[in-house]
Amino acid sequence: MTNNKKPTVVWFQAITCNGNTHSLLSANSSRLELFLNSFDLIYHPSLTIDKSLNEILESKDEIDFLLVEGAISKNSDFFTISDETTNVLLNKLTSKAKYLVAVGSCASYGGVHAKFEQNDNVVGLEESLDKKSTKNLKHEIINLTGCPVHPEWIIQTLFTLNNFGKMAIDEEGRPKELYSTLAHHGCTRNEYFEWKIEGAWGEKEGCLFYDQGCRGPMTHSSCNKILWNDVNSKTRAGMPCIGCTETDFPRDNMLETKKNIGIPFEVPTGISKRAYLSITGVAKTFTIDRLNKKLMD
C-alpha cells in the first residue's frame, strides 16, 4: 500500500529581497517540475496558492517542511506582516513544523539586513526561536546559505530529508554534501590561480583572486560544480566569488583583494601564509605563453 499524500511545504518570507524565490523559480525546469510533483507547496506569498498565511497558522495540520526566506526581527517598528513581527510568526510556524530550512544567508544568520544600523535586532532563524517552538522538529535547522541560494541545493535538501530523514551538516548547519568543498573547486580559472596570472572583470582569462577580491579559495560552496542554469557560475562568467555562503557575508569592499604591501591579507583556506607566499613567489616567476593569451581571438 502506498501513501499518496505528498509532504507539505510552507515557504515563509520574512525580511527579504525575494532573491531566493527568484532563484527557486529559475531552477532547471525539469527539476522544478519534479519538486512540484513530489511535494505539496501549500503556501508561498509570491505564488498563487489556495491558503492564506492565517489559514496555515490556524490549521491544526502539521507542516512537513518549513522553508524560511529572509531575516527575522522582534522589532515591530521596522517590519511586520499582518501586524505581527516576523519573530512571532516564525515561532508559531516552527511549532507546527517537522523540518526547518533557512533558505539563503538572511534566514541563516541575518545576512545583509543584520547590517542595518537602525535596528540591532535582525538575526537568523537559530537566534530567533524559542525553545518550546522547536520541540516538534525532527532535525537541527538546516542552513542553506548563499545570496541567493542555488535552487538545486533547495530541491536536493528537500528530497534528501524526505527520503532519508536526515542529512549531515557542518558546524554552520550547512549540508556537507553541498558545502564541504570550496567554490574554487570546479573553477575554470584554476590554472590561472596556480600560475598567479591576474584577470579582469568579465573576461574569460585570468584569476580574480589577486586583485578582484575573489573568495573562491576560502568559500564553502558547490556553485562551480552544480552550475547555475546548468551552464554557468559567477567566476565562469568573470565575476569574482563574493563569498556569499560564509557567515561574514556581506563584507566591505567585496570586489577588491585586501593587501598589505602588495601581500594578500588572507590566503586560501588550509595553507599557512609563509607556505603560500613561498609558492606564489616562485609561480609568478614563470611566463606561460598560452595563459597570457586570449583563449579565443
Binding site: K259, N260, I261, G262, I263, F265, K273, R274, L277, S278, G281, V282, K284, T285, F286
Partner: protein, 185 residues
C-alpha cells in the same frame, strides 16, 4: 659548500673550475661530478644554500614576539654579522648571482632559488603593515628599500672603504630603513 662559495666569490664564476672546487673540498673531480653534473648546477645549488642560511635566520626573527621596528634592527645586525663572519655568503650573492644572470637563467628563474628568503622578507613587511608600523605601499619598492640598503652596504664593506667596523653602522642603517618604511600618521 662554503669553499665553493668562497672560490666563486673570489675568482668569479668563469675563472673557477670544477678541479679548483674539488681540490678545495679535498675531493676527486670524478667524485664532484657524482654530486653536481656541471659547474652551473653547483652554482645554482650554492645560491639556494647561501640564501637559505639568511632565510632561516630571518625566520627566527619573524617568529619573535617583538615589534616590526625591532625586527628591522635585528635583521640588519644579523645581515652584517654574516657579512663580517661569513662574507662568502653575501659576496656570492652580490658578486656571482647578480653578476652572472645567464648562468641562473634556467632553473633559477626569478625567485625560484631565493624564494625562501624573499618569503621571509614578505612576512616581515606584511606583519609591519598589518600592525600599522609600516605604511602600505607596493611590495618591490619596500623590498628594495631593505635589501638595497643592506646589500649596498655589504658591497662597501667588501670594497674595504668603510671607516669603522661594519657592525658599528648596523643601527644607523636599520634606522634609515625603518624611517623609510614607517607608517605616516
Amino acid at each position: 659548500m662554503e669553499n665553493s662559495l668562497k672560490l666563486f666569490s673570489q675568482k668569479g664564476f668563469y675563472n673557477t673550475t670544477i678541479p679548483d672546487i674539488a681540490k678545495s673540498m679535498k675531493m676527486s673531480v670524478g667524485n664532484m661530478y657524482n654530486y653536481f653534473s656541471s659547474k652551473e648546477e653547483l652554482a645554482k645549488y650554492a645560491i639556494k644554500y647561501s640564501t637559505n642560511i639568511l632565510a632561516s635566520q630571518l625566520r627566527e626573527i619573524n617568529h619573535m614576539e617583538i615589534s616590526s621596528k625591532e625586527k628591522i634592527f635585528l635583521f640588519a645586525k644579523m645581515y652584517f654579522e654574516n657579512v663580517k663572519n661569513s662574507p662568502e655568503v653575501i659576496e656570492y650573492f652580490l658578486r656571482v648571482y647578480l653578476s652572472n644572470r645567464e648562468v641562473f637563467k634556467q632553473g633559477c628563474e626569478g625567485f625560484l632559488c631565493v624564494g625562501e628568503f624573499v618569503t621571509e622578507v614578505m612576512l616581515l613587511l606584511d606583519e609591519g603593515a598589518q600592525n600599522k608600523e609600516f605604511r602600505d605601499q607596493e611590495f618591490f619598492p619596500a623590498f628594495s628599500m631593505i635589501m638595497g640598503s643592506l646589500g649596498g652596504f655589504a658591497f662597501l664593506s667588501g670594497e674595504a672603504v668603510l671607516d669603522k667596523d661594519i657592525m658599528e653602522y648596523s643601527d644607523a642603517i636599520a634606522d634609515n630603513i625603518y624611517r623609510a618604511l614607517k607608517y605616516d600618521e
